[in-house]
Point group: D2
Chain length 142, copies 4
């Protein structure tokens, strides 16, 4: 299936978004670098924002009993980010199936690539059992 969300109330596909994130002091380690675990928190911000742009809210999804849990995550760290850097995170939908969504990520500072990442989300219900993702996340067949 295609790697995109339909914009709410529209057939326009939405397959990525850019989000600016400023690195916080508390997120940096004694080397002065953004701690490597924090990148995965940033990826989560990118996913939330992409969903929001498509007209949905992960907060509402949870209220409706749909949860997305991270089944796989990976990151390749190329150059370090530092305190107060303004970074641009590009989040892209790579693949959507009935119960899984793959995203890829690129984090840049002024056009310089700092890291690339990838996650697989699984759709689960309130008990943590695999469940179909909400219809509105499944793009229409082309």
């Amino acid at each position: 299936m295609t790697g995109s969300l339909a914009l709410k109330g529209s057939d326009t596909p939405l397959d990525h978004c850019d989000l600016d994130i400023r690195v916080r002091y508390v997120e940096c380690d004694p080397m002065g670098y953004l701690h490597h675990a924090r990148y995965f928190e940033f990826f989560e911000l990118g996913r939330t924002e992409l969903l929001r742009l498509a007209g949905h809210s992960y907060h509402d999804m949870e209220q409706q009993g749909h949860f997305l849990v991270v089944a796989r995550a990976q990151c390749k760290f190329i150059k370090p980010a530092r305190y107060d850097d303004v970074l641009t995170l590009t989040t892209r939908i790579e693949r959507v199936t009935s119960a899984r969504i793959d995203h890829s990520y690129e984090l840049k500072r002024n056009g310089t690539l700092l890291c690339t990442g990838r996650t697989t989300l699984a759709s689960v219900d309130g008990e943590g059992k695999l469940a179909c993702i909400p219809d509105y996340l499944i793009p229409l067949p082309k």
Copy 2:
């Protein structure tokens, strides 16, 4: 009311506990110091441990619909802690009322005082409304 918990199945009062905590790399900031917000996370570990020593579990309390939320917190930072330091946190119950518990904290490294803190917890139900604390947290009158 006195500032102590009764040990489960006993009248022996338990008013404090010591907990050793090793400072993690991710908890330290670019100055190389334990970030000041982390001390409040450590205080939470101390409260959990004190409850456990008294024979109870905060995890079970939540399952039973009793929640403790932090209503006030304060800390005076005296000397910095650093990565890999082994610290000793002393958590003390200062006061228990029907819906509130006050704790005080001292964090030391090899006997040197690094910080003192104080919190007030409020007892709430699953909807966040003030509720009486469980009976077993209220010490018997002397």
Copy 3:
């Protein structure tokens, strides 16, 4: 001394700033609330932003060997914040002395007060010893 910064290259006093912060998923606890320790991280964001508005950068201050460490922090939690809430943090300078700065904080959601806080920062050098704060942080006498 007055509780304000002079705007860089100007005598206009700057005594507070407002900053919008969206609550992240990772910042919320199993009750679904913004974890209480995170408020102190938000206060740090407010201080950084106030400094930036005055034309300075905490990042540059550190590069020049001036560090501000938290000597005291306190918070009164009034109502909980939740995932995806957009909060407005008002950071105010209450008092500046040769080596200390007091800030106060108010965090609101749509005008509703969620918490109030207060911190005292101490100015230290690279070895952690008390040092005068940079001249540009000391407001001109009226």
Copy 4:
């Protein structure tokens, strides 16, 4: 090269270690699960502990100008961990070259596998440039 450290002052190879970690409240998200980014923090604890068992300290390494930065990290999440769970993390050295160390990880609760992970560390100097890892981390040829 073999995937093991020599025990300090000995030729005994040390290729893995087990570390018990109790899940903290602040580490869990609104689903009640250990947040996925935290697993990478746990992996860091495992690496530190393995180094300590071999008679070394990452803290001392940094003091001597040797830094290890994470170049790649990945994790497969199998079952969720929850607040207050006591988990056992097995950290294993898979491969050591002149400037890189690969580790693998298994996180279990009472023998049940919760996740597997893998990281590649790069050895850098204080300026972040690739550098040889300290001799004592390179196992003797067999």
